[in-house]
C-alpha cells in the first residue's frame, strides 16, 4: 500500500467518522444525564430526510440543516416526554422513535416528491461543499506534510470541522463547566442534584435537546454533505454503531473521537477493498463489517477494561414527596 492510498483511506475515514462522532457525542450528553437513547438512528434518519427535502426546496444547505435539527429535536422531545415526564421505558421509547422515523421519512418523501421514497438530487448551494483550508494549495507540494494537510485535513465540508471542534468543547463542558458537573451528577445520583435545589427535569431536558441537535447535524451532513439526496434507510445503522462507539469509549469525549475514527476506518476499508489479507490469512469482508459489533460485545463483557454506564441511566426519577 503506497502513501497516496493511505492518505485516501484516512480521508475517507474522516468522512465516515463524522456522522458517527456526532451521533456518539449526542448519545454521550443524553446518557450522561441518565437518559438511555437507542433512538439515535431514528433522529439521524429524520434529520437526513428533512434537511435534504428543505435544502432542495429552499436551495440552501443551511436552511436544510436547520430543518434537520428541528425534526431531530422534535423526536428528542417525544423521547423526553415519554422518559422524563411519563417515566416510560426509555428503551421502548427509543425503539418507537426509530420506527417512526423509518416509516415517516419514506411516507413524507413519497407524498412530497413521488420518487419512491427519495428526495431529488441536490446541486450547488443546497449541499455543503468542500472547503479549502488556508495555504492548502501552497503546501501541497511539500513531501509527507503537504498531502496530509492539503488532502487529508483540507477539503472537507464545514460540518466535519464543526464536529472535530465539538470534541474538546464537549470535554470542556462536561468536565470544566457548572452545567457539565450537574449533568454528570444527574446521571449518577439525581436525588443528590434534586436535594441541592437543581431541577432534574430541566437538566435532563437540556441534555436530550442537545442530543437532538447533534443527531440533527449528523443526519443533515449525511444527506447534504456526504451524499446529495435522501434515500430510504440511508443512515444504515450508523446510529447503532455510534451507540456501540459510545460504550466502547466508556462515555468519554476524547475516547469517543478515537473510537469513531477506528470504526470510520473500518467503514473506509469495507468500501475500498473486496477482501483483506492479513498475515497471510484472507479475511472475508463481512468480518470487517461485524468487527465494531463484536468489539463492543467484548468491551461490554468486561474482558478488556470495564464499561460502566452512568449509575442512574435508564431509570426515571421520581421526586420525593
Amino acid at each position: 500500500m503506497d502513501f497516496a492510498t493511505v492518505i485516501q483511506l484516512l480521508d475517507s475515514t474522516i468522512r465516515s467518522a463524522t456522522p458517527l462522532l456526532l451521533a456518539c457525542l449526542a448519545g454521550l450528553y443524553s446518557e450522561r444525564s441518565g437518559i438511555f437513547d437507542i433512538g439515535l438512528e431514528g433522529k439521524m434518519l429524520a434529520a437526513a430526510f428533512f434537511s435534504a427535502a428543505v435544502a432542495f426546496l429552499s436551495g440552501s444547505a443551511w436552511i436544510g440543516l436547520a430543518a434537520g435539527i428541528g425534526s431531530s429535536v422534535a423526536l428528542a422531545l417525544v423521547h423526553a416526554l415519554a422518559s422524563i415526564n411519563f417515566r416510560g421505558n426509555q428503551l421502548i421509547s427509543g425503539v418507537a422513535i426509530n420506527f417512526l422515523a423509518a416509516g415517516m421519512t419514506v411516507l413524507v418523501a413519497q407524498a412530497w416528491f413521488s420518487q419512491g421514497g427519495r428526495t431529488p438530487s441536490l446541486v450547488g448551494s443546497a449541499r455543503f461543499a468542500p472547503i479549502k483550508l488556508p495555504f492548502a494549495d501552497q503546501v501541497a507540494e511539500v513531501p509527507i506534510f503537504g498531502p496530509i494537510y492539503a488532502e487529508l485535513l483540507s477539503g472537507h465540508s464545514i460540518p466535519v470541522y464543526i464536529t472535530l471542534a465539538l470534541v474538546p468543547l464537549t470535554w470542556w463542558v462536561l468536565h470544566r463547566s457548572r452545567f457539565g458537573l450537574r449533568l454528570r451528577a444527574v446521571g449518577d445520583a439525581p436525588e443528590a442534584v434534586d436535594t441541592a435545589g437543581v431541577s432534574v427535569i430541566r437538566l435532563r431536558y437540556s441534555a436530550v435537546i442537545i442530543c437532538g441537535v447533534l443527531c440533527g447535524i449528523a443526519g443533515a451532513y449525511m444527506a447534504t454533505g456526504l451524499q446529495a439526496n435522501f434515500t430510504k434507510d440511508m443512515t444504515a445503522n450508523r446510529g447503532f454503531i455510534a451507540l456501540a462507539a459510545l460504550i466502547f469509549a466508556k462515555w468519554r469525549p476524547w475516547h469517543a473521537l478515537m473510537t469513531c475514527l477506528l470504526f470510520g476506518f473500518l467503514f473506509a476499508i469495507e468500501t475500498r477493498f473486496q477482501k483483506i489479507d492479513l498475515f497471510g490469512v484472507t479475511l472475508p469482508l463481512q468480518f470487517v463489517q461485524a468487527l465494531p459489533y463484536v468489539l463492543t460485545v467484548v468491551i461490554l463483557a468486561g474482558f478488556v477494561g470495564r464499561a460502566v454506564p452512568p449509575r442512574a441511566g435508564g431509570q426515571p426519577y421520581v421526586k420525593e414527596q
Binding site: G88, N89, A111, F240, Y293, V297
Partner: protein, 364 residues
C-alpha cells in the same frame, strides 16, 4: 390498595392507547393527502374479506406470535430481548441445515426435526447475551442489538460464500427437498369443488404458533419455573431471598425467548420460501416488541395482537398495491403502537388511576 380494577388495567388502558395510535395514524394518512376511511376499507377488503387475504394475514400472524411470545417471556423476567431478529435469522439457519442435510421421510417428521433445530439455533444465539447479562452484567439490550447485526453479517457470509449452490446468482441456499415441504392452508382446507387460500403462504406452522401460545401460558402461570420468572421480574432482591438464583433464571428466560424467536423460521423458511434467503425475517423480530407490548405480555393478548398486526401487514401490502400509500405506513402505525402502549403507557394510566380513585372515594 389497588388503584384500578383489574379489567381496566388489562383491557381499558391498552384500548385507549390503541385508540390514540389509531387516531394519530389517521391524521398521518390525512396529512399525506389520502382518505383514512377509504384506506381502512381497502385494508379490510384485502386482508379479511377473502380467504386469500386471510392466508396472508395468518401467515404474518404466525411470525408475530412467535416473536411476540419471545419478547413477552423475557418481559415477564423484566428483560428486554430486542434480539428476536437475530435469533430468528439463526433459527432459519438451523431449519435450512436440517432440511438440506437430513433425509426426512415425511413432512411431519421433518417438522419436528426442523422445529427443534430452529429452537436450538435461536436459543444458542441468545445464550451469549444471556450469559453476559447474568454473569458479567452487560446490558442485554445493547448486546442483543449487537448480536442482531452480527447475525446479519454471519448469514450474509454463509449464504454468499458457503451455502449458495454452485452457479446460483442470488445469495440463498438450494431448494429444500420436497419431503420437507409443509402443507399449506390450501392443501388442508380446500375441497374438491372450492379452492380456498389460493396461492397464500399460511401453513401448518400456524397451529404450532397457537400451541406455543398455550404452552407459554402454561409455563408462565402454571409452573414453578414460570412463578420464579415472574417473581424475578417483580423484584430481584425478593427473588434472591426466596432462593431463586438470578443468573440461572436470567439465562433460562432468555433461552426460552431465543428458542421462540427461532421457531419463527419454520414458518418463513420451511413453510414459505422453502429455502433460506437473505433477510428472511423481514423485521418480524422487531414487530414482536409491538405485539408483546400491545398484548400486555399475556399469551392471549399476544395471539390477538399478532392477528391484528398480521392484518395490518397484509392490509398495508394491499394499500401499496392499489394506492400511492407506501408500505411504510405500517411501520408508522407499528411505531405509534409501541410508543403509546409502551413508552407513553403512563400518559393514559395516570389520569385513569386518578379517575378510578375519585370514583371510589365518592362511593365510600
Amino acid at each position: 390498595m389497588q388503584k384500578m380494577p383489574a379489567w381496566a388495567d388489562a383491557v381499558l388502558v391498552p384500548m385507549i392507547s390503541l385508540l390514540l395510535a389509531a387516531i394519530l395514524s389517521a391524521l398521518v394518512i390525512i396529512s399525506i393527502g389520502e382518505d383514512p376511511v377509504a384506506a381502512f376499507r381497502l385494508m379490510v377488503d384485502g386482508a379479511l374479506m377473502r380467504s386469500a387475504g386471510w392466508g396472508y394475514t395468518l401467515y404474518y400472524a404466525t411470525n408475530f406470535m412467535f416473536t411476540g411470545l419471545a419478547v413477552a417471556v423475557a418481559f415477564h423476567a423484566r428483560m428486554f430481548n430486542i434480539g428476536g431478529e437475530g435469533q430468528a435469522m439463526l433459527g432459519g439457519l438451523g431449519v435450512a441445515l436440517a432440511c438440506l442435510y437430513i433425509p426426512w421421510p415425511h413432512w411431519s417428521v421433518a417438522l419436528i426435526g426442523t422445529s427443534l433445530a430452529a429452537m436450538l439455533f435461536g436459543a444458542a444465539w441468545a445464550l451469549i447475551p444471556a450469559w453476559l447479562q447474568a454473569k458479567r452484567g452487560s446490558h442485554i439490550v445493547i448486546t442483543t442489538i449487537m448480536f442482531n447485526f452480527i447475525a446479519a453479517t454471519l448469514l450474509n457470509y454463509l449464504l454468499v460464500n458457503v451455502l449458495r449452490p454452485k452457479g446460483a446468482m442470488d445469495p440463498a441456499t438450494a431448494r429444500f427437498p420436497e419431503t420437507t415441504n409443509l402443507p399449506t392452508f390450501r392443501d388442508m382446507f380446500s375441497t374438491a369443488d372450492t379452492v380456498l387460500f389460493r396461492g397464500t403462504p399460511a401453513n401448518v406452522s400456524f397451529f404450532i404458533a397457537v400451541f406455543a401460545c398455550f404452552l407459554v401460558w402454561l409455563l408462565i402461570w402454571r409452573t414453578r419455573l414460570g412463578y420464579e420468572l415472574r417473581a424475578f421480574g417483580q423484584s430481584e432482591p425478593a427473588a434472591l431471598y426466596a432462593g431463586i438464583a438470578p443468573a440461572r433464571i436470567t439465562i433460562i428466560a432468555l433461552l426460552i425467548s431465543g428458542a421462540l424467536a427461532g421457531l419463527m423460521a419454520v414458518n418463513t423458511t420451511q413453510g414459505e420460501a422453502e429455502r433460506l434467503i437473505l433477510n428472511s425475517t423481514e423485521g418480524a423480530g422487531f414487530i414482536g416488541i409491538a405485539v408483546a407490548l400491545m398484548g400486555r405480555s399475556h399469551p392471549l393478548g399476544v395471539f390477538i395482537a399478532a392477528i391484528l398486526f398480521g392484518f395490518l401487514y397484509q392490509g398495508g401490502a394491499e394499500l401499496a398495491l392499489w394506492t400511492t400509500i407506501p408500505r411504510e405506513l405500517i411501520v408508522v402505525i407499528q411505531a405509534l403502537v409501541i410508543l403509546f402502549t409502551g413508552a407513553l403507557d403512563n400518559m393514559v394510566r395516570m389520569p385513569l388511576e386518578r379517575l378510578f380513585l375519585a370514583l371510589r372515594r365518592r362511593e365510600s
